[in-house]
Symmetry: C3
Subunit: 629 residues, 3 copies
Amino acid sequence: MQRTLGTCYYPEHWPEETWAEDAARMADLGLTWVRIGEFAWSRLEPSPGNLQFDWLERAIDVLHDAGLKVVLGTPTATPPRWMLNKHPDMLAVDAQGNPRKFGSRRHYCFSHDGYRAEAVRITRLLAERFGRKVEAWQTDNEYGCHDTIYSYSDPARAAFRDWLAQKYQSTEALNRAWGNIFWSMDYDSFDDIDLPNLTVTEPNPAHALDFRRFSSDQVARFNEAQVATIRQHSDAPISHNYMGRIVEFDHFATGRQMEIATWDSYPLGFLEDRLEASPEHKRRYARQGDPDFQAFHHDLYRAVGRGRWWVMEQQPGPVNWAPHNPAPLPGMVRFWTWEAFAHGAECVAYFRWRQAPFAQEQYHAGLLRPDSAEAEGFAEAARVAAELKQMPDVEHTQAPVALVFDYASAWGWSVQPQGAGCDYFRLVFEVYRGLRKLGLSVDIIPPDTETLAGYALVLAPGALTLSEPLLKAISETSAQVILGPRTNAKTEHLSTPVPLPPAIEGLDVTISRVETLRPDMPIPAEGGGAVKLWFEQLDSTEQMIEETEDGAAILVGARNLFYLAGWPDPTLLQRILAQRAEAAGLAPQVLPQDIRIRDTGNTRFVFNHGPEPVTFNGQTIPPAGVIWT
Amino acid sequence: MQRTLGTCYYPEHWPEETWAEDAARMADLGLTWVRIGEFAWSRLEPSPGNLQFDWLERAIDVLHDAGLKVVLGTPTATPPRWMLNKHPDMLAVDAQGNPRKFGSRRHYCFSHDGYRAEAVRITRLLAERFGRKVEAWQTDNEYGCHDTIYSYSDPARAAFRDWLAQKYQSTEALNRAWGNIFWSMDYDSFDDIDLPNLTVTEPNPAHALDFRRFSSDQVARFNEAQVATIRQHSDAPISHNYMGRIVEFDHFATGRQMEIATWDSYPLGFLEDRLEASPEHKRRYARQGDPDFQAFHHDLYRAVGRGRWWVMEQQPGPVNWAPHNPAPLPGMVRFWTWEAFAHGAECVAYFRWRQAPFAQEQYHAGLLRPDSAEAEGFAEAARVAAELKQMPDVEHTQAPVALVFDYASAWGWSVQPQGAGCDYFRLVFEVYRGLRKLGLSVDIIPPDTETLAGYALVLAPGALTLSEPLLKAISETSAQVILGPRTNAKTEHLSTPVPLPPAIEGLDVTISRVETLRPDMPIPAEGGGAVKLWFEQLDSTEQMIEETEDGAAILVGARNLFYLAGWPDPTLLQRILAQRAEAAGLAPQVLPQDIRIRDTGNTRFVFNHGPEPVTFNGQTIPPAGVIWT
Amino acid sequence: MQRTLGTCYYPEHWPEETWAEDAARMADLGLTWVRIGEFAWSRLEPSPGNLQFDWLERAIDVLHDAGLKVVLGTPTATPPRWMLNKHPDMLAVDAQGNPRKFGSRRHYCFSHDGYRAEAVRITRLLAERFGRKVEAWQTDNEYGCHDTIYSYSDPARAAFRDWLAQKYQSTEALNRAWGNIFWSMDYDSFDDIDLPNLTVTEPNPAHALDFRRFSSDQVARFNEAQVATIRQHSDAPISHNYMGRIVEFDHFATGRQMEIATWDSYPLGFLEDRLEASPEHKRRYARQGDPDFQAFHHDLYRAVGRGRWWVMEQQPGPVNWAPHNPAPLPGMVRFWTWEAFAHGAECVAYFRWRQAPFAQEQYHAGLLRPDSAEAEGFAEAARVAAELKQMPDVEHTQAPVALVFDYASAWGWSVQPQGAGCDYFRLVFEVYRGLRKLGLSVDIIPPDTETLAGYALVLAPGALTLSEPLLKAISETSAQVILGPRTNAKTEHLSTPVPLPPAIEGLDVTISRVETLRPDMPIPAEGGGAVKLWFEQLDSTEQMIEETEDGAAILVGARNLFYLAGWPDPTLLQRILAQRAEAAGLAPQVLPQDIRIRDTGNTRFVFNHGPEPVTFNGQTIPPAGVIWT
Ligand SMILES: [Zn+2]
Ligand SMILES: [Zn+2]
Ligand SMILES: [Zn+2]
């Protein structure tokens, strides 16, 4: 399959007379795909039942006439105002008990049956009309953006009770599973169970975790309803555009429902608003984005899409929504595009064709300025389009390293962090960054992975409850495996298993005590570096590979199975990963701070993420520069 | 008109036997004016309709008998508790949906018709009784203090819908003006439009801006109702006492309704609680107040009062309401008084005569201690009274520099800052400070100014939408004019005009891109200094006056019209302002950091705002010192 | 009375088969006391009226059979879920108006009559059944934990109105006492008075203070109802387990109702979450706890219990609820136990016997791990048990220094701090720390103390309203007495007395002005050190003992009575305290930073709180080391 480019287009924002010229310019630029429709419900159905699909058909025709392919989005992230008159209680409710009102987007509760039926209805109507016409589909838009997974509404409460009743069958079973005896929290009836907000102090973590599982299931159910509807009328592949660092629902669950995973990549916005990093780091990468954040998501969505994935929205210039919104370094739009292709993207689509001069995102760049002049990203996209002609098709290669990512663990850590700063995504991402700084390419794998065949090095930091298939795969692999910290430390109800964790066959390790550390009191490791934030005291007869200056175990194990008792700082992490990678027969190399490498198929890409030129392996790579061989 | 002093007095706090002695001491001190009554509703009308005005008449008589003049305040900022029994829904509602309860002050919603009628009623009764008796009026007290302009109540919602219906006439027009198509936010009925709080993510900026315009109009309407009522029974001038850095309503709009503008000047409290400044700056000026903050407001309220303005409440010692409440440096009470007179004040009234030993402001100093002994400010006021005898009357002189201040722009920046720290008041105030540090006196002018005659230098930083009259005045002036950043960047609906901004006749400049900057990544200017926070990329054929080290335009223009593409730091600002001031024929001089100058009439005042003596032009000025010539 | 050890045990968490072994291990370890039952309501009464006390009787029997004594807790901190079906409005309401929901603990409003009756009912049933069987009682659990004293519920509002009506008898009296004239806040009816939350700006401080007095009274009333009920059926001593730095209710008031005061001592959690200290201090003591925080509470609860006090919950390892939860230094569990005994504890009970693997406190250590293996604290407790055999019984000695602690003053400072950081507990605690750093042992005394006989040095910093008995005791004592800052500065209604404070007989001092200071602008004292945060300007003819570099009075007085005009920093405080201690005939010595001394009976204990060994008086004390002679 050929690597392609695309863009997001809102014909409803512009006079119909200008569509054809827009389409012609898109085609000239070398774009293949155009995503449309995902916010257009008020024009598709201005009043209940008053369907106005003709303009959309004309827009599709114009695009097709220019040789472009169309991704049609279902408009369910933006129900029109009249929907609230039909379903006044469809709004999500925040944790403080306030309805989250109409006036922007994503103003619905996933648990509202009436709204879900409306979403299916408009999806069905669109699929009936355009199912044979468009080349791909997108469901809704950015599930979870603006903290929209958790709703504390009446419909959510009722649905949660049903969900619990189906899961536990009896309150006795639920009381036992949650340990409700602890503070006399036992329930006699599922109808007595409330949502876990506004409790006097923290709710039972099992209660909180089940609410998160339920909320994730509600998203999957909502999405599946649309997918099933589209399938009845269309053979085109279906996708959803995920958003960066949204971990409140299980993307693997929705991913399994669809052919393609896509995500919306805003490197500069993400650096500012959702990355733990020092001010120095944020300043250094303010115009390039973090060197690993996009790559992590590329690898994550390759897993979510089981190989097939796109960037559906690629930042093309400054955005409008982060605390600070600088312009990218010249060349970064091309750079980001190539980075996605290096990680296996089939398509990179720029958000958006033309900057709109009104409403919420006026200062969010497009490929065109509001006056239709070319913005800076335009020429960079054109350069990629030209370069693509020389490149092979999308290549799939298994990476040598596998890193488990488990959404339920993110919820578990969030419910029960035990210390400020103890966050699952952060832990996994730091390990990912450590691997990348050694020049390694990584596959992110789901927690129910059944085989580790082909991998030389496998890590599952912080995965709270290892699944049976993964435990079996670990026991069977000859790869170097590093578990911990906190791996397999919990039952599915977020209780502590007895015998104590990690209880891994072939590894004589028992966690006898957990402590969390002030950021200013890391525990130095004997060989340099330190453990920070999270540290476990081990009872173990395994060989001590790394220890603290006081002689406490940090890394123990033998043969190919190792347990890591704490959260390593970058220095310690590098040493551990390099040793294991070498033991695994890989050739780790410590890269310059701004350089990252990605191998795919027969191509090795080398990226300079820094603001200055870097000489690497004899070649000087300019800022925003990428070379491939 | 003579410069006078005054004080704020609460006869209802003290035994009637003591009034005469208080009045005698006030007269002895050299005071002319006494403001009374503005919080006394519960004594004027202890129960509905039970009017008790006699005590107030006696108090006025006592003051008159001592030769004092009276400003009578309408007591509408403190409706008594029984009012809530009549109008249970009169309370404002905060953005979270909670009523803002009785128990302090300003507990009313400007949109509540019933309460507005009550306010008019008590105003009418007071005006009927005292209209020919008192020498001046004050409406209400400190509109906007304690964040009281925005209310999310049911009456506010209903009034907002009416306001929108009157403004737009049809929802089609409103949808178009707001760009509601953007996220399917279109409305079919004005009754479907809600207030813009509690939306899932940011509301449409046009929606938010209209709510702010509406809220400002509600204040003007509330005030006008009182003013019109007083006018029917009194020829005395009417005023309102504005509060520092309240920009949530348009003071020019209320200012036009009344003869005099007054404001409440609390230099130390303001430094602590409403000024962006470094800790070092706050520490240096902790006992003196910021060197420019009071001056800015003096100049602002001179404009709001069309020349006639007072300080109605002057800090006389420590206050009680800021995060920290230190005592002023000895001499500062005199200093602040003279500063106000230097900027043209007709009267400076001290808040308050005697420190009250009970209720909310017990630790707020007065001229007297609670035990009636003289507090420290007393002697300083006496010194001013003595000095005033040697001084000419209030002098009015047009300043050589005009600086536009536009409340609607403050709302626009607040609704759509595009980056943390990007605030309109802050921008204008920094420019004002820059001008003052060059020894220049400044007139603040409203955004609908029709002529710039008499000015040598004109600035309108951040004024989002230049009015037709001002655009005309700019095109006609021969003054040096600096526009930008963000000047004329928006339509009145906060959308981006196409052709792109600033679209100023005679200036070939187009803003092709906007970016906002982390505080730690200023962009260095070629000649020193830097652009911070906000930076625009220009397409321009104009001469480049200032540029970044990378060659991007910072200041362009020719003849007398210039565009500034970013937010200058103090170094860059000083260079730009000094150059333009010189080109304008002014004689800018870089003052020592603590020195400020103000020219009025034939008098030049020189103030030392620092904690140490400063030698300036051969004269040594002590801390808290002012000299005039 | 012998010093004893104990533990907190939850038989309801564990299979009944294991109880006997647990009891045997407890006895073997050398424990005397076991606290049980305080969270077990849902097992004692699974549905309304369905009493299941047999298991508890069997658990008590098992413990008794092993030779252990039992403290039985009333389970009223954790009413079961069915209670809400009977009393839907029993939940407390937070200051934002949201009910604080079921799902954790302490989910009740102290003002709900129905719930109080239920609490009395279950208490009566337990007392009837076990009144002659158990050796001691505990009421409820940790009143005030999780901010549970203040409730803004409808029952609280109604009860507050009643309380005010009983206190003031007429609204005229209330209006006068509160100074409601200030902003027309007068009331015509007690039914018009609301709770002081959600006011537009700060409520009248008198209103706020009365709400705090009322809330404290509600706790006392709730507790007294249980105490009176138990007394009818039991002669065993009654206690309550207070929590660290909870000042929202008057512990002396509840303390007077019971025989024993106990508190829950979590040194590491408290250091992290409720102590003002620099990051360096927190890091240094992260594994030991603050050197004075526990001691302060030991001395406080000795006063609350009129000599009889315990640690009911002693931290035995890492906890789970602070921002960071490190493990204690080896030896600290023993160290903390001895520290309590040094201050006169009768018993130290470890929380908890066995770490529970489920629900909210999974990562909170016990003496046993969840798998019943010994955790680290186990051996340390065993060592204390062995050491105890060599020690004399609990010794009571009056300390040479008395320090007044007054809960109402804590409320007054909180309602009216006048400056950020001005907190009563913090002030008193800093003075306490200063005394301890001079090697002095301290008695904390209540504000209604009637005699100071036996004390050489007495301090009452920040005690806002000195009681008649204490004033008399001060006038009669020959001890060195230091009053101020802010001592006797307020009436009981939090107004300022006229004549002005402090109005102490025999001390010619008048506070003419109060100022609060930025943390970065301390006022240097002539002899070194400085005044910080709070500073009073004095009119005084007394001798000046300490003054600022500018000559303003800091400490004045003569003979044995002194007034301190500001909040001293540690250097100034040390000088003042050392001088007065010497004048009092004590022998203050400046201790090394980590060393603290406590004298009791004939024993002197010396503690090293630091992470390194310290040589003191020729002896080297290791980290976590204590020596006694
Ligand atoms: Zn997006
Ligand atoms: Zn005021
Ligand atoms: Zn506890």
